[in-house]
Amino acid sequence: MIWIWLACTAPQPLPVDSAPVAQTPPLLEAPRLLRRVSLDLRGVLPPEHELDAVEEDPSLVLDYSVQYMADPLFEERLVQLFAERWWTRVDTFDITPNDYGLGADQNFEFARSIGEEPLRLLAYVIAQDMPWTTAVSADWTRADPLLESMWPLERDPGEGWQTARYIDGRPAAGVLATNGLWWRYTTTDSNMNRSRAAAISRLLLCADYLGRPISFSESQEVVEVEDAVRNDPYCLACHATIDPLAANLFGFWWLTLYSRVEEESYHPERESLAQDYLGVGPGYFGQSIAGLEELGWAMSGDPRFYSCAVESSAELLWRRPVGLEDRARLEPVREQFVRQGAHMQPMFQELIAAPEYQAAPSEQVQVRLLSPSQLDSVLVQLTDFEWTQASYMQLHNDKKGYRVLAGGVDGYAVTQAQTRPGLTWALVTERIAQTAASSAVEGGGQLGQALESVDAPRDWIAGLIWQLTAERPSQDELDALEQAYLEFSEAQGPQAAQELLLSVLLRDPRFLSY
């Protein structure tokens, strides 16, 4: 009895607000932190005057982060971030450009537009500071002219991505009613939308069915699979909830695969087939609902929907998995997120203000590598160099390009960004640094424009390092680089020396990490 008393009276977990947070690691200097914030929120480097300003007054970093979220680049950057988690920006779908009479030169645009539809919807919700619940309840999507030409959509006028509405009778369910999501997450006759339900659970509730332990050892011998998933307790551990969730998705149930006419439209009549196929009607974790039209509503009443938004955002911004040890930090963020009506931007601010975000690389804290999309957008900013081949953006695909080789996520075979430099990463970054440097000396981008006034190489080199790395070079480094520059300039001319120096600095670890 005494041990029971001791157990109950032993020190209880502290209230969340005062719970001990893991020992705070060393933090980044303010300029380097601003660079990180700018790369995470906009995909580009901050201008030098902002680096100067935060060097003077570090408290300005968070002010700038607010400004960055109002930048149009923020929405674009969110698309890249969500692509790492939602895995929809794949290179191939069941349906091909030829099914729409498109030429091979549109292969990349075709895959990219489809894969980005759900990501653009999510990014727009956040960039417009709408409640996160809009992501699962909106009666609109985002579409570009190509999607409008292919699918039953009415798109608002304007260039590029605009708000659009499906006109095929699909319910308002935000991202859950987008073709792009279900073209990526397909299903089969025997799967019956279950993998799609699992995707919903993983992406929006952070509840991964595939992570559950499964034991068949004590289960009865399975004779008929569909009978087992309805009656065998071992199967029911998952199927009791996943099957009703899958039943919400039968409007996207294609009766033949690889068929354009089947896959491009919602099929309202098939909502009723869920009962025929699965033996259950639409539901949400024990609650009977009317179907897809109520799925977003049901999710909005699920605490996991909000905690998942916080945890997944933390993972994207902190560039690492979050675990129980992060709970003390994240719980107040979640509470605030819910209290403020589930707006993502303030929550992003809190995550950025956390020491977990601001930690400098150390033995405990992994260095952050520029993702292929960040590298791409930074080099466009700096040098105007856009790495394309036959209309393929080379750092955004793997069919002809180098996305995975450069550390990225392809959504099928590679679902987590590379966290350590590797051989292919080194090769890709070397080649792109050389080519981007070449573009700059021809006058491209911010670096190219700055070359017009290089009359004091030492100052130029010092400014360049500041601009590229947000770190002030040491005198030794400056001496060495200046000497190399002058020697090479004498031998090959100043332009070649500039190209060499740029090429070296664009593959400097301080530049390629953040």
């Binding site: 029971i4 068929s259 354009r260 098939r270 605490p303 209290r339």
Partner: protein, 280 residues
């Protein structure tokens, strides 16, 4: 031990339970149904009066389309040749792209092994254009079969529409597309013929799900089963007619009765007249 459990549970609850009332719940959608009984009756009867999709008609349309080409395009008399997957233009002005497969099978009928089932199936994933630009599109299959007794006497017809079928040049229900998975069985003889419709179908913009069995003895009113009807709000309404009356209550998905609905299903039977005639 119970004390210990209570102690542990209390700990967990203090950290994990979230007051769901504090969550920013969305307003529950779909509180208003678009249709009541009268509107449902008018809308559905209006659709039924224009006929009903028939796998036998679907198969006829398939052959009609394939016969509009020339010797090399679509390339085969009963199928689009595989080498025309990427598209071909016939001298006639028709354009074919995609693939299709047609097959015939003869085997004992599972339902009644003493009968022989002669089946025809057209599978396809294709898109055609006629010279005026009208689309013929298919993703899925049309399957028809006749069950023959000794002496090749038809005793039953079965058919299935599965997928999406559209022929903009059709003067019937296929002009706006037919989508879904519906099995049709026509059997019986004399005045005891029956048509059983099982599955989901959308045509002329009306999504339906049927388990109705229509009986000639009842003047083609349903003898059993029900019809689910999706209204424009997305709500599913369920009509369960009393046997042989053509009338019955309409209820919503919560079981709330919306009123009596009467439907004349004779136009549905009319869409299968050819098969019914063969069962005389």
């Amino acid at each position: 031990m119970i004390w210990l459990l209570a102690c542990v549970t209390a700990e967990l609850d203090s950290e994990t339970v979230v007051d769901s009332a504090s969550l920013p719940w969305l307003e529950r959608p779909n509180s208003e149904r678009a249709w009541g009984a009268e509107q449902t009756e008018q809308a559905v009867q209006g659709t039924l009066n224009q006929g009903f999709p028939s796998p036998w008609v679907g198969l006829d349309l398939y052959f009609f389309a394939l016969q509009q080409g020339d010797a090399s395009c679509p390339g085969l008399p009963e199928q689009i040749a595989p080498h025309n997957l990427q598209g071909c233009a016939a001298d006639t002005g028709w354009y074919y792209s995609g693939m299709s497969r047609f097959s015939r099978e003869i085997q004992p009928w599972e339902q009644e092994p003493t009968l022989i089932l002669e089946a025809e199936q057209a599978f396809g994933d294709f898109s055609l254009l006629d010279p005026s630009g009208q689309r013929f599109e298919c993703g899925g299959h049309q399957e028809t079969a006749v069950a023959l007794a000794e002496g090749r006497v038809p005793t039953a017809f079965v058919g299935e529409h599965k997928g999406t079928y559209l022929w903009e040049g059709h003067d019937g229900v296929y002009r706006e597309g037919v989508s879904g998975q519906l099995q049709v069985q026509i059997d019986g003889s004399g005045s005891q013929r029956r048509i059983t419709l099982s599955g989901a179908l959308e045509y002329l913009g009306q999504p339906l799900h049927s388990s109705l069995s229509l009986s000639e003895a009842c003047g083609w009113a349903p003898a059993s089963g029900s019809l689910q009807i999706r209204d424009p709000s997305g709500a599913w309404l369920i009509w369960t007619p009393s046997p042989c009356t053509g009338c019955g209550p309409l209820v919503d998905e919560n079981g709330k009765e919306l009123g009596q609905v009467c439907l004349d299903l004779a136009p549905v039977a009319g869409s299968f007249q050819r098969q019914l005639d063969a069962l005389q």
